[in-house]
């Protein structure tokens, strides 16, 4: 890769923006700018004059970038959503990963592909981190509910902690339910009765 690409990343979250810069920098010596403000987006894009704009699919301000595909003034460089015609469906992969790419008119797809591949990989990593975080949070919440349910059983039926847990697990198995669901039902019922 010889000629430099000017890349604009629209991303309000600083650590995320830096992570994207890192992965893109590995694909070549690009000039990378980050825009964190969503106000005046169109104006900023016109000023920075990038070859490629990357924006999170979940960012509501994406519509302002999308509108640039209609740029009509002769001073503006027309921008188009990156749509590849190849079979591997780079556009689809990008949207599924959570990133959309806009390229200026006349940009050769071969120059964009390595950058977009890197961005896709990075956004996949974001998605994985988000899922992991959600799973950890859920596990923690389930843990808390199970602890409360055990406490209720220990008091009401004078059981040890292990016996209370065994009872919840046995009930869950016989009813084909998850342990956390049985625990939740017990906590809810107990709250209603108290």
């Amino acid at each position: 890769m010889t000629a430099k690409l000017t890349i604009l990343i629209v991303e309000p979250d600083k650590p995320r923006a830096e992570a994207i810069i890192d992965s893109l920098a590995a694909t070549g010596d690009h000039q990378i700018r980050v825009l964190s403000e969503s106000t005046g987006l169109a104006r900023s894009v016109a000023e920075l004059n990038p070859d490629l704009v990357l924006v999170d699919v979940a960012n509501p301000s994406r519509d302002a970038i999308d509108a640039l595909t209609l740029a009509s003034s002769p001073l503006e460089r027309p921008v188009a959503m990156f749509v590849d015609r190849s079979d591997d469906g780079l556009t689809k992969a990008a949207i599924e990963a959570g990133v959309s790419a806009y390229v200026v008119d006349g940009m050769h797809p071969d120059r964009i592909k390595p950058v977009l591949d890197a961005a896709i990989a990075r956004f996949h990593m974001f998605a994985r981190m988000r899922n992991e975080l959600a799973a950890t949070k859920r596990a923690l919440e389930e843990r808390k509910i199970i602890d409360r349910a055990k406490g209720i059983l220990m008091r009401a039926r004078n059981l040890t902690e292990d016996e209370a847990y065994a009872l919840i697990r046995k009930t869950a198995m016989s009813q084909g339910k998850k342990i956390a669901d049985v625990a939740q039902a017990l906590v809810t019922a107990s709250e209603l009765l108290s």
Partner: protein
């Protein structure tokens, strides 16, 4: 009964109600569908999800499938509108600074007076910065039509900015824009937050604006005729349910849930009841047909509505008008509407197009299955759009 899963995308707006009600009140299940409703962060993302097949159907701005048929916007897939989801529902708001300026001149007309309001804005004699959610939207079309017809030097004096609806209240409070045209609840939220006030109901510009449609990929509708019919019937029944005024508070409560709009039910009920607050601590203003889901054949995808949109866009983007009107009309699928909705008792208009703007009052017309009351559908300037002569 075993239900068939169907993924449908929507933007969190009051006019997504037919899809949400179809799911929550069992109309979808009645048609053997299990809807998986997915909220979208932006119109472009919703469009891409539909185009790429991540969802089967979407709540969509009526002009989006038309724009795609005209080759605008760079996404080459063909989308079709199975039915209109909602008629009207937008409002135009202005900044507090502009409101003070108009008020000082004694030029703050009635919420329904598009003529006087348009002239007041044109008389300012300067460029207006106006926020709209998307370039292909009835918001943009109504603003262009209204301000140009009011004497504003459009498009030169109309600096249109694309701003996501949830950021509209902030944009007007920050003096990034002078005015906006936006769907509910975002106009009411601006009033609630005190960043601006509402100036004019969208329905005052065109009394019967096809606002959102139920959009699918054309090839999907062709391949999945049975699912298409089920989806259309479920949504049509939800619209009929919503048309009963006694259900407005229930509908508001459901829309207010966190997975849908996550906005207080009281604010949502304003658009559903047509009782709008135009400024904080003001009186309610009654807006006839503020947002309509059913009455007056609201769900019928008139080819003349599509042709109007196509003609307006052709003018703005420099395309051939007659050709654009004809391409646009193919997008509104009256054929599917007639075929799939006859069995649930939808009264079918005898024709698939009409002269838009010609009905001053509610008018009875002959229809298959009885008579149908249409209109009023007047444009504020009294012009009539005849699809046979798209001037």
């Amino acid at each position: 009964m075993r239900t068939l899963p169907l993924s449908v995308g929507f933007m969190p707006l009051v006019d997504a109600a037919p899809l949400i009600i179809a799911h929550e009140l069992g109309f979808a299940e009645e048609e053997g569908l299990a809807l998986n409703l997915q909220s979208a962060p932006s119109w472009s993302t919703l469009r891409d999800r539909l185009v790429l097949g991540q969802i089967e159907a979407a709540h969509m701005l009526a002009p989006v499938p038309v724009a795609m048929a005209l080759g605008l916007g760079g996404v080459p897939t063909q989308l079709d509108a199975l039915c209109v989801l909602s008629v009207n529902g937008n409002s135009i708001g202005i900044s507090n600074a502009l409101a003070s300026e108009l008020s000082a001149k004694g030029a703050l007309p009635d919420f329904m007076d598009a003529d006087a309001t348009g002239k007041a804005l044109a008389d300012l004699g300067r460029t207006l910065r106006v926020g709209v959610p998307f370039p292909f939207s009835m918001h943009a079309e109504l603003l262009h039509y209204w301000l140009a017809s009011s004497g504003l030097n459009a498009p030169e004096a109309l600096d249109m900015r694309i701003i996501p609806p949830p950021l509209m209240a902030q944009a007007i409070a920050d003096d990034e824009i002078d005015a906006f045209c936006v769907g509910e609840p975002w106009g009411s939220i601006t009033v609630e937050q005190g960043g601006g006030r509402l100036l004019l109901a969208g329905a005052a510009i065109w009394q019967f604006t096809p606002e959102k449609v139920l959009a699918v990929r054309r090839e999907w509708a062709q391949a999945e005729d049975d699912l298409t019919g089920r989806l259309m019937r479920a949504v049509w029944k939800a619209g009929r349910w919503l048309s009963d005024p006694s259900r407005r508070s229930t509908a508001s409560d459901i829309l207010a849930w966190p997975e849908y709009l996550d906005v207080s039910a009281e604010i949502l009920e304003r658009a559903l009841s047509g009782q709008m607050l135009t400024r904080p601590r003001g009186q309610h203003t009654t807006v006839p047909r503020m947002l309509e889901f059913f009455e007056g054949a609201a769900t019928f995808p008139w080819k003349s509505q599509a042709a109007w949109i196509g003609t307006r866009m052709a003018t703005r983007f420099g395309l051939d008008r007659a050709h654009s009107a004809a391409s646009a009309a193919t997008v509104f699928r009256t054929d599917l509407y007639r075929r799939h909705l006859a069995s649930v008792g939808a009264i079918m208009p005898a024709a698939s197009e009409k002269r838009e703007g010609a009905l001053q009052t509610p008018t009875s017309t002959a229809a298959d299955g009885g008579t149908l009351t249409l209109g009023p559908d007047r444009f504020f300037d009294g012009r009539i759009f005849d699809p046979a002569l798209p001037d």
